[in-house]
């Protein structure tokens, strides 16, 4: 409903909208169960248009997937009294827990700086940090570090040239979701650009949910912590006792 209203507003705002996205997802729900070890989502679609295909500038497609936004604290170590200690800290007010941006060509060629700023497409733009203390002069190094650390664990991905576009009409890409994934609605955006300008935008969500035992344990640990604690103790004692009983039986 929200998406429909959004599209309607978009159409109303731009009466001469020439090209639009028709989208498909291989799945719109990712279930985190006990054996969850990452997942791959196939995002594919077509461009619907009324006018004939324009050849120059060529159509480019950008796909972004963004996890729930969180606040992070980035800390830096310094040598104090001979050992390495966390000293300076910068709070990054809002950064997605997961962020992947895929494009059909080099990202800088697909979208202009102005459009990137407006739509917050590239990884540094998707992060917002305001509250760096005055004592820290090089606050950008902290956001760079956040991106570096998150990229290393595949939580932030820049996949240039991984969206394949056929005949400027059909496009598809695959997004690799890592094993360490947080729950939430993963906002998925598709941008069509020509000459660096965004000509059409489409939004949908991928739902990432813990299911079964994972969901039950996680919710219990947050909503009824006392109960969860007692249960953990009981289960652990029971398991320990059972394991030694089994071992004794084997020995006998």
């Amino acid at each position: 409903m929200r998406i429909a209203a959004f599209l309607l507003a978009l159409v109303a705002g731009l009466p001469a909208l020439a090209e639009e996205v028709v989208l498909g997802l291989s799945k719109d729900t990712v279930s985190i169960n006990t054996s969850f070890d990452g997942s791959e989502i196939l995002i594919f679609g077509a461009v619907k248009r009324e006018a004939p295909i324009q050849d120059d500038p060529r159509l480019q497609v950008i796909v972004t997937v963004s996890g729930p936004v969180e606040t992070f604290t980035v800390r830096r170590k310094e040598k104090r009294f001979g050992i390495w200690v966390n000293t300076d800290a910068v709070e990054v007010d809002s950064a997605p827990s997961f962020y992947a941006v895929s494009s059909s060509t080099v990202l800088g060629l697909s979208i202009s700086d102005t459009e990137d700023l407006r739509h917050k497409v590239s990884i540094p733009r998707a992060i917002r940090s305001v509250g760096a203390p005055d004592t820290i002069a090089d606050a950008t190094r902290f956001t760079d570090a956040l991106i570096r650390i998150k990229s290393r664990s595949n939580q932030y991905q820049l996949n240039e040239g991984t969206v394949s576009v056929d005949e400027q009409t059909l496009f598809r890409t695959a997004i690799e979701l890592p094993a360490a994934l947080t729950e939430g609605d993963y906002q998925t955006r598709i941008f069509l650009t020509r000459g660096g300008e965004v000509i059409s935008q489409y939004e949908t969500s991928i739902y990432v949910r813990k299911v079964g035992l994972e969901r039950w344990l996680f919710r219990l640990s947050r909503e009824n912590a006392l109960m969860y604690g007692l249960m953990s103790l009981a289960i652990a004692i029971g398991a320990g006792w059972a394991a030694s009983a089994v071992f004794r039986m084997f020995r006998a």
Binding site: R75, N86, R148, L226
Partner: protein, 303 residues
């Protein structure tokens, strides 16, 4: 087989966890120690968040000590009165420890605190144990009998109490202080604290060796259970799936370790344990001294 841990929110190999539990279990069975001081750093190394590792390890220690205490109760080698006095200190210490832990977590210094505690305590205990067992080995070679001090400054303190099972008449202050120290360690380091308490009971309180292990296990169970509850309700960091996997490996490993331990001499065991303690201490100290490859670290949440 990968398994997703619901609270730690990471995916790890289940057999790796069973194996780790097993290896630490063998060592703990051989040496008669809980093994928490080895398991917690190992969990850091495989990528479990430190807060989760410490809280979960407390949960695991409760379970792995449980069958031990039952066996000691049956053999009547638990000084319940002394255990209760140590326990009162332990509960106070655990509450203090969790407060300090949460405060330093907010400051971003919890990793440092945990590692420093490990370096200091493992260094001191490992060093003492190493030289003590070296001396013992030398003495047995010379044919001297080991001797124990009977009277020290402890006997001058007030609030004396009679501990029948241990055959002691001493002030309650030293056992309460020992309990507090162990409680703080349990909360901060995710260990039972047996490696501190056992020497303290023998050398400081002068308790007979046969009741030391049972009594310390008795205290450890309640203190670590209390710590588990505190972490579960304030930090939400107890991962029961992780605890059970480590435990199953650990219990089986401990049974094997006990069998190996019987075949070795006490002094040899102690010197091996001392070397191992010093090795873990050295590794953690190096991490603090050598410049890390990544100077920055990220944590969820604001200040």
């Amino acid at each position: 087989m990968q398994i997703y841990l619901p609270i730690a929110e990471v995916s790890v190999n289940a057999f790796l966890l069973l194996g780790l539990g097993g290896i630490v279990g063998v060592l703990s069975g051989m040496f008669g120690v809980g093994g928490g001081f080895l398991m917690t750093p190992l969990l850091f190394f495989i990528g479990i968040p430190p807060a989760v590792a410490v809280a979960t390890e407390a949960n695991q220690i409760v379970a792995s000590s449980f069958s031990g205490v039952l066996a000691h109760l049956k053999r009547k080698t638990v000084d319940l009165r002394m255990g209760t006095v140590l326990l009162i200190g332990g509960l106070i210490g655990a509450a203090l420890g969790v407060i300090v832990f949460n405060y330093l977590k907010a400051m971003g210094q919890v990793d440092l605190l945990v590692k420093l505690c490990y370096v200091v305590f493992l260094g001191v205990i490992g060093g003492l144990m190493f030289f003590e067992s070296l001396r013992a080995i030398r003495n047995t070679k010379r044919g001297k009998a080991p001797q124990r001090k009977k009277h020290n400054w402890i006997h001058g303190l007030p609030f004396k109490m009679r501990f029948r099972v241990s055959g002691l008449y001493i002030s309650v202050i030293p056992p309460v202080l020992v309990g507090i120290a162990v409680g703080i360690l349990a909360a901060i380091m995710g260990v039972g604290g047996g490696f501190i308490m056992v020497p303290a009971m023998i050398y400081l309180l002068g308790m007979p060796t046969k009741v030391v292990v049972g009594t310390s296990l008795f205290q450890i169970i309640f203190v670590t259970a209390f710590t588990t509850m505190l972490h579960a309700t304030t930090n939400f960091t107890v991962d029961v799936v992780l605890a059970v996997l480590l435990l199953v490996g650990g219990v089986i490993g401990a049974q094997i370790g006990t069998r190996i331990g019987v075949k070795l001499k006490a002094e040899q065991l102690r010197i091996l344990l001392a070397i191992m303690v010093l090795a873990v201490c050295g590794k953690l100290a190096l991490d603090l001294l050598i410049m890390p490859a990544e100077l920055y670290s990220i944590a969820e949440g604001g200040h």
